[in-house]
Amino acid sequence: MKVFDCPVIGRRPISEFDYVGEVRKPPMDADEASWAAYVFNRQGAPGLLREWWYHRPTGRWYVMERDTLKDEVVRFIDLEEVRYDIPA
């Protein structure tokens, strides 16, 4: 059994979580090339990555900073840190 060490709810089986990918901010006022890069490309190099995780039993979303090389959660990120405004 693989365990995900969530800093908020503790050690839980990873099967309770959905991995939702890297936390990314859309390039609001960018040209088409930047938008294409945003839509189609992902940062795959090992290292620190901010990721969305969804815990199904509680229905809660978490943002974690994870070392993808060691597969260790480094810290929990407050959602306020990653929020952004959508232009009206």
Binding site: M1, I9, R12, P13, S15, E16, H55, R56, P57, T58, G59, R60
Partner: protein, 161 residues
């Protein structure tokens, strides 16, 4: 030693959300847990805090329901695991380490692959399990099968005379 058994119990479940949820709980004479993902019991009522301003209330028959525009009825199926040895049973169905779950603790996890809420009752020591009613039959069958397996292991009839 009491026998381990699974009972289905009647609890009217409600989800309260929005800034008035605390006041609605208090007005109905229900406890208001302070910490996130914790629960408080009162006679005939169990309330858990599941979000910043979101609460779940499970009430026995006769307890007044909270009144609020943002109070929604839920129809969870609720089971009660009574008797000694429910930790052993749950280890067959859930990957959580139930030795950590103390009386009064609230837990939201997966049991038998189904998202459930669980509460360790303080006075009785029983484990309450609530889930989406669509999984009712599946959960009854699965829990009963594991109960039978455990019972057979404890009381082997054997084949030799």
């Amino acid at each position: 030693m009491s026998t381990l058994r699974l009972n289905e119990t009647e609890r009217a479940s409600y989800l309260l959300t929005g800034p008035a949820s605390r006041a609605a709980l208090a007005a109905a004479g229900l406890p208001v847990p302070e910490q996130l993902l914790t629960a408080e019991e009162r006679p005939g009522a169990l309330v858990a805090r599941t979000g910043r301003d979101e609460y779940m209330a499970m009430l026995k028959a006769g307890h007044p329901a909270p009144q609020d525009e943002w109070c929604f009825r839920r129809y969870d199926c609720v089971f009660e695991l009574a008797g000694r040895g429910w930790v052993e049973l749950m280890t067959h169905l859930c990957q959580y380490d139930f030795r950590q779950l103390q009386p009064g603790d609230w837990l939201m996890t997966s049991a038998a692959g189904v998202s459930c809420w669980l509460y360790h009752e303080i006075e009785s020591g029983n484990l309450l399990i609530g889930a989406d009613p669509g999984y009712r039959h599946y959960l009854i069958e699965t829990f009963s099968a594991v109960l039978d397996d455990l019972s057979a292991t404890r009381n082997p009839t054997g084949g030799a005379s």
